[in-house]
């Protein structure tokens, strides 16, 4: 069975991979975009798969924390699906960047490479949080696998789950802030953090149920949770409808309506019935994310502009997940299938041979180390030179705080135990540290310039706005607003092309917001009044260019 599904995955993957290569070659113009749809399919797929990746660990870790016993097979599948979904999710922002080799420039290493990432941007938080989440999920899975033979690792399984529990919620919240902090009317919503978490949990439950159905197992609790998730999501959609008047019928039919068939006993007792319902939820939730990213909603999909590249990208993501997941599952089936500790039912007697130490006692030292690490980062960030010329708001640091704490706490918790497993592990660990150090100092540190923003007094509102534009914006966007071609070819990220169509799609408020607070590698620049004048200047340039 696993082998067949692996081959089906490969069949989907190969044609899908052509769309990937095409997108890498042609850049963001390859998939369907226009003045209103600037994120498109890759970001829809990223949000969808990152949701699935969070749900796997969340289900495994949360239920463990709340002392709800799942059988070990389900936990194993949830954690494995997390890693595979994360792999799929990580590919799409890279494609979307357009300049793939420079992706690491968005790491929050401050001026480590002479390029100062904007800590106030959700895109920077995103990268940091997801990278840490990926590392810790891998560690969690490793502890689970090795716990069979190394009892000292098994003792760390539950404390580790307590570190991961808030981290998963935190990371998906940060993903939601990519949307919620913008001024695009379609994405305005301070309720997005909870909305995204509910969506992620719900789609993750559907994935785990689908995988369990494939294996010929079922967990009634997870089916009930899926049913409850559908009702909760329905109320959130209702609230979104009340606020913005948006309603997506197809997402409702696939994502919520079909799930209610779980209430019919004949259907829920049938393996095909359960499988189709879970698959329907995944389709519904993908449509929901697609409509969220693409402001045309359902009319867009019905139109002719949904291209072949978009379709192949979707096939690629499914194919990659299936081939990696079922490939690994096939390997595990041959090696671990009859291992009672890893794939068997929960056995309280076997668990009881692990000495019980209060979680608080185990976690207090690692968490103290984590808090210390985050504080050092904070002090370091505030002591750096660029913050003499503009503010670093607390809101820019807070989203990075818990991931940093969790990272250091997890390393402290299981570092010593993992290092003792094999003699090669410390060598690999040292090599990884050296690589990190190399990335950190790869570009050299930025040098202090004699030029100070205050000296130009650009926020004096009597100064012509054209001067401000030339001083602060023209280096990337060009003097005439048509991009500084030479500069941007050597630098990441490629700034937005400020055409009239694009300016209209974002709206004046959104533009003022971006100019004031910055985004991605673009720093916060001026006060709101000057930002408003700059936006007016942008419109003037865009009209001239047209």
């Amino acid at each position: 069975m696993f082998k067949k599904l692996f081959w089906i995955g490969l069949v989907l993957l190969v044609p899908g991979a052509t769309s990937l290569l095409y997108s890498l070659y042609f850049g963001p113009g390859a998939w369907t975009t226009d003045g209103f749809t600037f994120w498109g399919t890759p970001i829809s797929l990223f949000v969808f798969w990152i949701g699935l990746s969070h749900a796997g660990t969340l289900i495994s870790a949360v239920l463990l924390c709340l002392d709800i016993k799942l059988d070990r097979r389900t936990s194993m599948l949830a954690e494995l699906s997390t890693l595979c979904s994360l792999l799929v999710a990580a590919i799409f922002p890279l494609i979307h960047l357009g300049v793939v080799p420079n992706f690491y420039m968005i790491m929050p290493l401050l001026d480590g490479r002479g390029n100062f990432s904007n800590l106030g941007s959700p895109l920077v938080w995103d990268f940091c949080c997801i990278a840490i989440y990926g590392i810790l999920s891998f560690l969690f899975f490793t502890i689970h696998i090795l716990g069979d033979t190394h009892r000292h690792l098994r003792r760390m399984y539950k404390p580790f789950a307590w570190i991961l529990f808030p981290l998963v919620l935190w990371v998906h919240t940060v993903v939601s802030l990519d949307f919620a902090t913008t001024f695009v009317p379609h994405w305005r919503g301070s309720f997005f953090p909870i909305y995204f978490i509910v969506g992620a949990l719900y789609s993750g439950l559907a994935l785990i149920n689908l995988l369990l159905t494939v294996e010929g197992y079922r967990i009634r609790l997870l089916e009930k949770l899926m049913l409850v998730g559908s009702w909760f999501l329905l109320v959130i959609w209702f609230w979104n409808f009340v606020l913005k008047g948006e309603w997506y019928s197809s997402a409702f039919i696939f994502g919520v309506l079909f799930v209610q068939f779980l209430l019919v006993m004949n259907i829920r007792e049938s393996r095909w019935g359960r499988g189709l319902i879970s698959f329907s939820v995944l389709v519904g939730l993908f449509l929901e994310r697609y409509f969220l990213v693409v402001p045309y909603g359902e009319t867009f999909v019905a139109g002719v502009s949904f291209g072949i590249v978009d379709l192949l990208m979707i096939l690629f993501s499914i194919g990659l997940f299936m081939s990696v997941f079922f490939g690994l599952r096939y390997r595990m089936a041959t090696n671990l299938e009859h291992n009672e500790v890893l794939m068997g039912d929960v056995d309280v007697k076997k668990d009881s041979d692990v000495p019980v130490v209060p979680i608080y006692q185990v976690l207090r030292f690692p968490f103290l180390c984590g808090i210390l690490f985050a504080m050092v980062f904070l002090v370091w960030a505030y002591s750096l030179l660029p913050y003499e010329t503009f503010d670093l708001p607390l809101t820019g640091i807070i989203p990075l705080s818990y991931p940093l704490i969790a990272f250091m706490a997890a390393l402290t918790l299981c570092g010593k135990a993992i290092l003792s497993i094999n003699k090669m592990v410390p060598v690999v660990f040292l090599a990884l540290l050296l690589i990190l150090f190399g990335i950190f100092y790869g570009g050299g540190s930025s040098q202090l310039s004699n030029y100070k923003l205050e000296s130009a007094n650009l926020e004096n509102h009597e100064i012509p706005v054209e001067w401000v534009w030339k001083a602060k914006c023209a280096s990337c966007h060009g003097v005439n607003g048509g991009l500084n071609q030479k500069f941007i070819r050597e630098f990441y990220p490629v700034p937005q092309n400020l055409t009239l169509e694009r300016l209209d799609s974002l709206g004046v408020d959104s533009l003022i917001n971006v100019v004031t607070y910055g985004r991605g590698n673009m720093q916060q620049t001026v006060d709101k009044q000057t930002a408003r004048r700059l936006v007016q200047w942008m419109y003037k340039l865009a009209k001239e260019l047209k």
């Binding site: 919620a180 902090t181 309720f191 953090p193 909870i194 009930k224 409850v228 909760f232 009340v242 809101t395």
Partner: protein
């Protein structure tokens, strides 16, 4: 935001919390009550406040969080754990809702966030939650809701 409707929201959250966790082991029934409460909070927010105001966007979620906090005082088992978790949920809604709103030019209510945070941390030290302590906690939450 109208202070009268804001206070009424607090009262409603307190009243609706009485319906939660009445079926200790019934997942579906308990969930239906939570979802019913949440739907009620959405309708209340839509009717009582101006929907054009960004502050209203996460108002039903804040009411739900407050309702969870109140409901934990009537639990029989693992009360401290769920008390802390409910306050963490409230903190979560306030903090990240505040960050979203900050980027739209609305100041974050740091006092409210700090007060909830203090409540969260201090609750972890409660070994025995007496009736008097339950009352004090409820007064503390109401004070945060109305005054900050």
């Amino acid at each position: 935001m109208n202070p009268l409707f804001n206070s009424l929201a607090c009262l409603l959250a307190l009243a609706m919390s009485a319906f939660l966790w009445r079926y200790s082991n019934k997942l579906i029934k308990n969930s239906l009550f939570v979802i019913g409460n949440f739907l009620f909070f959405c309708l209340y927010s839509a009717l009582a406040f101006d929907l054009a105001s960004p502050m209203v966007e996460n108002y039903p979620f804040r009411m739900l969080a407050l309702c969870f906090c109140f409901s934990t005082t009537s639990l029989n088992h693992k009360r401290r754990r769920y008390l802390v978790m409910a306050q963490c949920f409230w903190l979560w809604v306030e903090l990240f809702g505040g960050i979203s709103l900050f980027y739209r030019g609305i100041d974050i209510s740091w006092t409210r966030i700090a007060a909830i945070g203090v409540g969260c941390v201090c609750s972890t030290f409660l070994s025995n939650i007496s009736k008097e302590m339950e009352f004090c906690l409820m007064v503390y939450w109401i004070a945060i809701w109305i005054m900050f």
